[in-house]
Amino acid sequence: MAEIIQEEKGGKKKGHKGSPHIDMTPMVDLMCLLVTFFMLTTSMSKAKVMEINLPEKIKDPTKQEAPKISASRTLNVVLGPDNKIYWYPGTVKPEEYNNLPPMFQTDFSASGIRQMLLERNRSLFKKINEYEQQVVSGKLVISQDSLRNAISQLKKDDDTGPIVLIKAYKKATYGNFVDILDEMNICGIARYTFVDITWYEEKMVEAASGIPSTATASTN
């Protein structure tokens, strides 16, 4: 292109007033647009992942025993049909299947499960929040990595928050599963895991949601 311009400048007709230049401005505009587009799409197309660690399967129940957790801190959260969540505190003994406690019904909104979890996890959530505030306001200068470590240490030391056992009724969807794990991260729950649903919990969900019962004592 530079050559063309030089040639023109070298000039056959001096009196030619209409510029022999090609106006590059629209081309620049276009390229600007394309560059911006590509820059934005490349950074956004990358999918994110959420990590989850599941407890190891107990393959031989005679040799290994299920870990014991305190009933007062246990919170059972069951993913039900139609994007509903059913929960109850404590534990239920299978022997009491004729007298099962009622389940509380809630949903995935901010005033539903999140409020319920935050109420129970307030002290830890406050601690994490204060710590983050200190970093944000510049009182505490640490790197992103050590912030993450500090928060996981806070979670580890916590002994007041709930231990959440997540279970899924067979009509739940994968989206519900991801949502509930996400809710755990939002609320800063220190201890949560996903476990298999028991037959009496299936019964409790069915009683709470009004689905005709399909579970029997033999299904596990």
């Binding site: 292109m1 530079a2 311009i5 510029s19 230049h21 106006d23 590059m24 401005t25 081309m27 620049v28 390229m31 600007c32 394309l34 560059v35 590509f38 820059m39 799409t41 490349t42 197309s45 990358k46 999918a47 994110k48 992942v49 959420m50 990590e51 989850i52 660690n53 599941l54 407890p55 190891e56 399967k57 993913l79 901010a110 999140r114 409020q115 935050l118 109420e119 307030r122 959530f125 406050k126 929040n129 899924a168 067979k170 009509k171 739940a172 969807t173 994968y174 989206g175 519900n176 599963f177 991801v178 949502d179 794990l181 996400d182 991260n185 939002i186 609320c187």
Partner: protein
Amino acid sequence: MPKIKLAHSSPHIDMTPMVDLFSVLLTFLMMTTQMRQQEPVTVDTPYSISEKPTPDFNMMTFLVGTDNRVFMNFDNGPDTLLKFRPKILVEMGKHYGIEFTEAEQIEFENYPAAMGVPINRMKEFLHTQEYKEREAFQTGIPIDSTDNQLAYWILFARQVNPNFQACIKGDSKTEFPLVKKVLDILQDKNVNKFNLVTSLEATKINLEEIQQ
């Protein structure tokens, strides 16, 4: 005098260098952009607040669609010389008594998307070139307890590359029992750490919200 001369010279700014610069940038960006893989099923991943990006390699991805089909995808590893994919295929073939030729291995190595082909039809699948014809083979990997090919894919993948991380990509409307089945198969093979693929969604909560 010089002042007058200056006024005569063109007030245009020469845009040519700018165009050059943009072309270079554009070319670079176009080259580096990874083309979005054509997945055999469209999955609508659920949202989460997780900001961890997907790892670039050492991933075994399990795609669980809404229509009860399970697909798998492995990557070739951080170095193309490692050739994890053909190695896994050969191991798999050995177990099922199928021998894959060099050409078939290369075809498998370069296949860009997730596949859900039962092993006995894998040969035919690798020989077809047409996208539409290939679609017919994608019936999902068998995961029944009688013919659990997914378990063997996982087993051989982890034999070839012990660093493989499990990654589950599901549609938010997928029925959970199917995902649970895949998780159970993975746990049977002692994989207890999973990455769930999600899209980013910002959620903010403040202290006042919980103090009310």
